[in-house]
Symmetry: C2
Subunit: 344 residues, 2 copies
């Protein structure tokens, strides 16, 4: 945690070693294109190499007034949804020779603003926030204020979510995806559904729920409020919600879990109850690691890595006049977990 500020090779050491001025050394090592005689340049480069010189990024940042740092804020890096998006962000960052700094909010909305403040202090060039989906007014306001301050100081911001704040956004078509899914499931013959709806107040979950309900309504398939159970956005949350739903003694043909991770928990619960073959299960996201569960999970595929890439690309591109948004649609993937019901 502490470090001795002594040693650490500086540009001055390099300049001295190469027998040139500080400015020349700077130009040769970090500066713009040729303005320095090749032989000198080489001498400096050799000195730098020999001394294992690494430019002090803080000093460069101060002098240049700009950073090479990208901040990424996710809810939980251990959740494959976020780690895939993070992979996309990191890929683009690397291509642009930028460093990415990740913060995990552990699903606590108030943490987001805190991290933005920290990144603002670090003079990050850009911030990407994934999953700012709360409906807590206070947290959202504070986040908005921090983001404004960040942008005012020259930083750029992109959100991955629905549009909630006036900044660049990659909008995930959760509602449309869930709507399509509902239509497909009805096409398979299912008529009586249950929904494992994720936590209240999480907008991603809410959008998927309401999209699914719209889809059902569009085909005049009823959904009793009693058939909707809220739960954590995790495997265990899905398991618990499924148990609760089963406990309500409803006649179920198919269950929609608002994400794959919950769906897997639900499948485990159904299996334990001996119902895994009689009740269909569908999820959302198409998490890569979960593509091999059996029966294979019907879901809505989201191009998560591409979403991450798109977010950082948007934020690194020339700013638009106002906040822009880019819409990403999901694609329904039918698999064995919803074999369908023969028309009776």
């Amino acid at each position: 945690m502490t470090r001795r500020p002594n040693d650490a090779v500086t540009l001055e050491d390099v300049a001295r070693e190469a027998g040139v001025s500080l400015a020349t050394a700077s130009r040769a090592v970090n500066g713009s294109t040729r303005k320095v005689r090749p032989e000198i340049r080489e001498r400096v480069e050799r000195a730098a190499r020999e001394l294992r010189y690494a430019p002090n990024a803080q000093a460069q940042a101060m002098a240049r007034g700009r950073t090479t740092l990208v901040g990424l804020i996710v809810q939980d890096i251990e959740d494959p949804y976020f780690s895939s998006i993070a992979a996309g962000v990191m890929r683009v960052a690397e291509a642009n020779r930028m460093i990415v700094s990740i913060a995990s909010t552990q699903r606590r909305p108030d943490k987001e603003a805190e991290y933005v403040a920290a990144l603002r202090g670090m003079r990050a060039a850009a911030i990407v926030i994934v999953g700012s989906r709360t409906d807590e007014r206070a947290a959202l306001d504070r986040l908005g204020a921090e983001l404004t301050a960040f942008e005012r100081s020259g930083g750029r911001v992109a959100l991955v979510s629905q549009r909630r704040l006036p900044v660049d956004t990659v909008v995930v078509a959760n509602r449309a995806g869930a709507r399509d899914l509902a239509a497909h499931l009805i096409g398979l013959g299912y008529r009586s559904f249950g929904v494992l709806a994720g936590p209240r107040g999480l907008l991603t979950a809410a959008d998927r729920l309401s999209g699914f309900m719209e889809g059902l309504a569009g085909e005049a398939v009823p959904l009793s409020p009693d058939a909707v159970v809220h739960g954590e956005f995790t495997r265990d949350g899905g398991h618990a919600a499924m148990m609760e739903l089963l406990g309500r003694g409803r006649d179920l043909e198919c269950v929609f879990a608002v994400n794959d991770v919950m769906a897997v928990g639900a499948m485990a619960a159904l299996r334990a109850a001996g119902l895994d073959r009689s009740v269909g299960v569908a999820g959302f996201d198409d998490i890569v690691t979960l593509r091999d569960v059996t029966p294979a999970l019907t879901t809505v595929r989201l191009p998560l890595v591409e979403i991450g890439e798109a977010a950082l690309e948007m934020v690194l591109s020339e700013p638009g006049d106002g906040p822009r948004s880019q819409r990403v649609r999901g694609e329904v993937v039918l698999r064995e977990s919803t074999p369908g019901i023969r028309p009776r």
Copy 2:
């Protein structure tokens, strides 16, 4: 990517607003404990709040000669093995109010040294490297040299792997875990094994393979070289290796894949071949997201989050006289994927 260096509230703005000197403002806002009159302190704090002042971390780092940044180098953040360890690192970082910057090497060993150099430039306080498991001499040497330079400039380093370099290390007992696993499988009655061995040159994989072989040898169970197939450390790698193994026409009772992700690919291949019920499958890691595959996977559980925590804790603690190491053992978990064979 570019940013206007203008605006952005500075400490000077705060000082002016509060009508005090720069030094006083510094002491009041960021400095050590009380040395400033309460009423003044409050005035400064209020000014800071109103202006939404966020201290420039680069400037602080320069002035203080030390950073609050932790670098984390992993092979692939999308792989749950790494994202779980990352979660552990981030948890400890947050507890110590440190920022973590993640780099993904995409499994290219030469990238590691490059990232260390970058982190050295950023004057990171500490670096944690997970999965530096190559046996490429050149890459390892270059990494060692970079790490030495980093430590010389006051940084601290921890590795998660076996001891390869003279730095603090969290040693994962891959060999012992695989050995235990072999013994357990033999206890279940299996006698003819296949191994999906991961890429050549990846030491984690090599250790698990040799540990497993030791375990078999200990019980005098033979393993033909022909029954060992190398493949990528991924789901598809496991799938391909399993296909290859099946193609060799051996009589298999049980397959050990050197990690869970490969094991899942192998199970898919077996299922497609109609052999999923006749051939046992075991993995390694006990990846959380994979705990619900069916049949449930026999594996060696590794406390991944704790490993990440341990690594950062070690590196943030007072340095020892020399490189320290902390050993983490895995625990065999038998599940349905290896039902065993009745003694004949």
